[in-house]
Every structure is written in C-alpha cells, then in structure tokens.
C-alpha cells in the first residue's frame, strides 16, 4: 500500500519545497508538485494538477493538499475530470503541515482514508 500525494500550490516554489520537505521523512512516497500556472507564474494549473493525479497514483490512491481557496477549486475541477476519482481525496488541511503528516502516514503503509485523516489531524508541535 503506497498512497501518493499531490501538492497544489499557487507557487512553484512552495509546491516543490513541500515535496522536498516531506520527502525527508517519507523517502519512498511518490509526491507530485503541482505549483504555479502553466508558465510558472503565481496561480494554479489544471493541467499540472491533472498530471499530478496520474503521476502520484500508483493504484492505491492520492491525497491532495492545497494552499488557498482557488487551489481547492482547481483540484476539485480536476477531480471531476479524473479517470479514477474514487481514489482521490482532497484534504482540508494546511498545505505544509498536512503534507508532512500525510507523507509520514503514507510511508508507514497507511491506506487512503488513513493518510487523509493524518493530513487533516495534522500533527503535534515542536
């Protein structure tokens, strides 16, 4: 069981940074950075999110972390067009903290609903 993650941010750098940070504690998890617009500006890209869904789902599903509201709207729209929407969960969680918690859970072999719950519970401080 290896659930993947898709990180949907308005910023290329945030998405890539979240992936590098979470990878430290979860080196074997597939994480797709879907940050910025198609041309790398601040915004979100439907195509990057869609590619992320495909790239991060090994068959066990993906949990999606988003930053602001319009990232959620883009992710939900991509979900409507997804091939296997039943294996995609959009987390209601802060993007960085939720991604780290989700990645750690996924690394331990948790299933889709547990990885989602880990993202949404987040994790203790300091």
């Amino acid at each position: 069981m290896t659930v993947g993650l898709v990180i949907v941010s308005h910023s290329v750098r945030i998405a890539e940074g979240v992936v590098e940070l979470a990878a430290q504690m979860a080196p074997s998890i597939t994480m797709a950075a879907a940050g910025g617009t198609d041309d790398g500006g601040i915004g979100t890209s439907f195509d990057k999110v869609q590619a992320g869904f495909a790239g991060a789902d090994s068959g066990d599903g993906v949990v999606v972390l988003c930053d602001l509201g319009s990232a959620v709207l883009t992710a939900e729209t991509a979900l409507d067009f997804a091939e296997a929407p039943e294996r995609i969960r959009i987390a209601d969680a802060p993007i960085v903290e939720g991604a780290v918690a989700a990645a750690v859970a996924a690394e331990s072999g948790a299933d889709l609903e547990r990885v989602l719950a880990a993202a949404q519970d987040q994790a203790p401080a300091a």
Binding site: I42, L68, T77
Partner: protein, 211 residues
C-alpha cells in the same frame, strides 16, 4: 429577426464569445484594479489569458457548431488556462451550460434560461458561495431570475439577465466577502465591487449586445 421568434444558434454563440474576448481585453485593467483592491490583482489578466486562448481554438470547431459545442470549448479552455479561481468557476459554468444546451441547434428563451440556470448552479456547486457572499454568484443569481421572468423573448431574456447582473455586481459593493480572497479582508472589503461579479455582468451584457 422578430422578437419572440429569435433563437440563439451556434454562430451567435461564437460571435458572443468573440465579443466577450474583445470586451475582456478592453476592460482588463479595470477588472484587475477591482481585484487589486480586494484580491491579488490578477482577475483581468486571468480572464484575458483565458479568452485569448479560446479565440485561438474557435476555428477548430465545426463550421456550424451547436451552441453547446461552443460553450464546451470555452469551458475546457478556461479551465486549462485561467490560472485563478475564475478558471474553475467560469469553466464549470460554461460546462454545465453546455450540458444544458445539449445537442440543440439553437436556444429559444426557455432553453436560454435552462443554460443560464445550469451555469449558475455550476458556479454554486463549485464555489459553495451563498447569495451576498460578495462573489460572482451575486451577478448570476439575479441574472437567472430576471431571464426566467422575461417571458419567451430570448432577446428580452438576455437584456433582463444583463441588467440584473449589472445591478447585482453593483450591489456587491456594501458587502463583506465570505468566499474567495476578499474574505481575508473582513470589513475592509466594504465599498469595493467584486471583480468576478463585474466580469460576469460584462459577459452577460456582451451577450445582450451580440446580434
């Protein structure tokens, strides 16, 4: 054409979208200025990017496309290119509108109301905004109601929709936002018009003006 007999065919739909692209390009900085006041200052650029991309794809349509086919092309292009909240929102609106239009060769007043209703419902389903949340829903909601009340004259329905959307956009000014970026501002959004409501009114005004 005589009022009451007019319908909106695919060619009209295409002319409308071309005129929207031109109007958005012209009003780009004004839309962005609204968004700079209570958002991130990109709404005009976002929409212009989207509609310019649409223009580049219209020639790929059949020579006599259905209204639904035009709307669907607009939907998928906006979804892929806008890059802000307006992308998924308008994209969903045009997509649901296309589904409501179905295979019809042309839309009469009743079909237009179905399309507008589906578009509004799509925006609401996507963004979960309620009336008076200071979003584009505040233009689309009144527009649908006015069009439905306008009787069986499709041009009267378009004119009613445009006028109601414009009034709805103006009416966002005193509101506090509960969705979108403007919701970060609390009371400081008061006195500013919602950019998405304004662009929605523009899109519908252009429809009313498209022959």
């Amino acid at each position: 054409m005589t009022a009451g007999e007019t319908t909106l065919d695919g060619a009209w739909t295409r002319r409308w979208i071309e005129a929207v692209a031109a109007a958005v390009a012209e009003r780009k900085s004004a839309l962005t200025a609204l968004d700079r006041a209570i958002g991130d200052g990109d709404h005009g650029e976002n929409l212009d990017r989207g509609f310019q991309a649409v223009l580049g794809k219209l020639d790929a349509l059949d020579e006599q496309p259905t209204p639904g086919a035009v709307l669907k092309l607009v939907a998928t292009t906006l979804i892929s290119t806008v890059g802000g909240a307006a992308g998924p929102l308008y994209g969903t609106a045009f997509l649901k509108g296309a589904m409501a239009a179905g295979d019809r060769q042309a839309l009469d007043a009743a079909a237009l109301v179905e399309v507008l209703t589906a578009a509004r419902d799509g925006i609401v389903a996507r963004g979960k905004a309620e009336p008076n949340d200071k979003t584009m829903v505040d233009a689309w909601g009144p527009a649908v109601e006015a069009a439905a009340a306008a009787g069986d004259d499709v041009r009267a329905a378009l004119e009613a929709a445009a006028g109601a959307a414009e009034a709805g956009a103006v009416a966002t000014e005193p509101l506090v936002a509960h969705k979108g970026r403007a919701s970060y501002l609390g009371d400081r959004a008061i006195g500013h018009r919602d950019p998405g409501a304004e662009s929605s009114a523009l899109i519908l005004r252009v429809a009313a003006e498209t022959q």
